[in-house]
Symmetry: C2
Subunit: 354 residues, 2 copies
């Protein structure tokens, strides 16, 4: 019987997700630079390598170091450069092709302290309002390109955009319209800077778009596991969700309609999405309904170690104390970050991660 | 310069918070059984011991084992028993006085498999709807007490309640009214079961209540660090918040009104509270205003590694790339769980944790 929550990853589904995205990138002649923040695992990285993918993105220096140690030679840290890490960047750049983000003009001075040449990507903000230089600031962008080329030892590699707005889209149409808006910007940029790489990334765009003209490089991450948020956005089907958190049932109330599982905020994080009925949910209990994989229940609330699961009576699903419930997370990246390791769903084998 | 987010804990404030709660418990003649899930640190546990506190609560078996290894002899696992852990409970009970929760009548059978006597607390639900037996089920409660006493090797120790509703209270008056409602229940229970220990715990009640008649044991946890949620609930003042996440500033936009820090969902978790203006916030930038510690900015959104901080212009606070901003978390327990260690705020010394 299960002693504590365990994060499972289905290798068959993951490999299928990788192959599908890789085939799409090939078909459209764009480089796939998968974002490894989602899995943070050298072994899963190797599954990408088996599909001839040799470039990756990460979200921190530590992750870059981990994947460099595991043989990755072309790594992009898709996060604004951190002044405290100039020595680490310098050392890493000696061993791998390192792409770094220039996200604020003030950060240019910092690059002067990086003693080995790196590939500078200017991060642009096309409306996400997270990090990046406002796409409207054409003069500023032009002057930064000039500065990199003439006042530094580094290479100007191109432009990077993360259109995180797609995560708040309410329909596939809205995702596509955000994507099309971005694509027009890229096509213009490409005319102005024909040598620049345009790197674009987010799973909702990468899965839903079908025309990548203007884009050189795709940088999605989440598609490796997917999750309930992506299913709700329309980026995947239920049978493409590769990750679950297996939780032991520890109490059952209201004739089994309210369950308590060991599986709380420290396992799932506190990411939530609004369900069809307007309520926030923190995870989904998967089941098979008439041959289809469908939700049979929802995690209604989380405290530190408790998960409260609602199983509607009409679902006829009874769980008892000691049973294990596999729960799809709302956001697999955050669950992966917390997990110490993964258990492969079918074989039970341990998959190591950083 | 800071290389990555670091969680700081101010020893002076923590010791003050411990002394204050300890003095309150002594004054009202209740046992303080602090919930160590908040700090998960043997060293901070030792600060409690220096105030003559020798009992604690934890939220998982692993935490219980950690504190047992660090000399704690009377431990309550304030979470429903997990069937998969019967052997672990048996072993632990040989070395320490172990209190376990019976939260569902079905779990009684499981206790038969625990081979060393433990102290059974019947967990009651007085309205929180998380775990525990409904307080209305008087016959069920009576039969469970009977069963423990006559059909098991274990001791019936008492009743435990967590009134988590107080975390959703909108005023101190509402916290007090939830508390008073619970207290009446305890006074009745005490008449029926005079030998039973009544263990009650949550920081909003423990800090705001001033009459503990009917209660034998207080089980608050968060008060050791406090956080912005508690400040908003009225459980603490700003100068009692002992924890902050120090984050490096990596980009600044809109004349410094929007900052990007390295400090995201993987450092803060995604707990949020509604600010006065109705917006959800994920952390608070502290500053001194006219001699008072007051917020000068808010974390408006979090992605995996990015925190977006808004600093209103009228606050006249300018941060540059490379600066470090200390950010109060919304929920210190979740930040503590993620942290690998703490840095003592004033000395810079490392405080280890599990």
């Amino acid at each position: 019987m299960l002693k504590e929550p365990i994060v499972t990853v289905d290798e068959t589904i993951v490999r299928k997700n990788i192959r599908k995205m890789s085939a799409k990138a090939k078909k459209h002649d764009v480089l796939l630079r998968p974002h490894f923040k989602t899995h943070q695992s050298a072994e899963i990285g190797a599954w990408f390598r088996q599909e001839n993918i040799s470039t990756c993105a990460v979200s921190s220096y530590k992750m870059a170091q981990y994947f460099a140690d595991n043989g990755w030679q072309d790594i992009m840290i898709a996060f604004p450069v951190i002044p405290g890490l100039v020595n680490e960047y310098s050392d890493l750049a000696r061993n791998v092709t390192l792409h770094l983000f220039l996200s604020d003009p003030e950060a240019f001075d910092m690059f002067k302290n990086i003693s080995h040449p790196v590939q500078i990507m200017i991060e642009l903000d096309t409306g996400n309002k997270r990090s990046g230089i406002n796409i409207q600031d054409a003069n500023l962008i032009a002057s930064l390109v000039q500065k990199i080329q003439h006042e530094s030892i580094h290479h100007f590699a191109g432009f990077a955009v993360h259109a995180g707005e797609t995560y708040h889209a309410e329909s596939i149409e809205q995702i596509k319209s955000i994507y099309t808006y971005n694509q027009k910007i890229f096509q213009q940029l490409k005319m102005q800077y024909p040598e620049a790489i345009i790197s674009f990334g987010d799973t909702p765009s990468a899965t839903n778009a079908n025309d990548f003209d203007g884009i050189d490089e795709l940088r999605p991450g989440n598609f490796v596991f997917f999750d309930w948020m992506q299913r709700q956005l329309g980026s995947c089907c239920a049978d493409e969700i590769a990750m679950a958190v297996e939780c032991p049932v520890v109490a059952s109330y209201e004739q089994g309609e309210r369950l308590v599982v060991h599986g709380g905020a420290v396992h799932f994080s506190k990411e939530s999405v609004q369900n069809e009925d307007g309520k926030n949910i923190f995870g989904v209990v998967a089941g098979t309904e008439a041959g289809q994989i469908e939700p049979v229940g929802f995690v209604e609330s989380l405290s530190q170690e408790h998960g409260i699961v609602k199983i509607p009576k009409e679902k006829h699903r009874t769980f008892s104390i000691g049973d294990t419930i596999p729960i799809w997370p709302v956001h697999s990246c955050l669950v992966a970050d917390i997990a110490g390791f993964y258990k492969e769903t079918n074989s039970g084998r341990i998959i190591d991660k950083m």
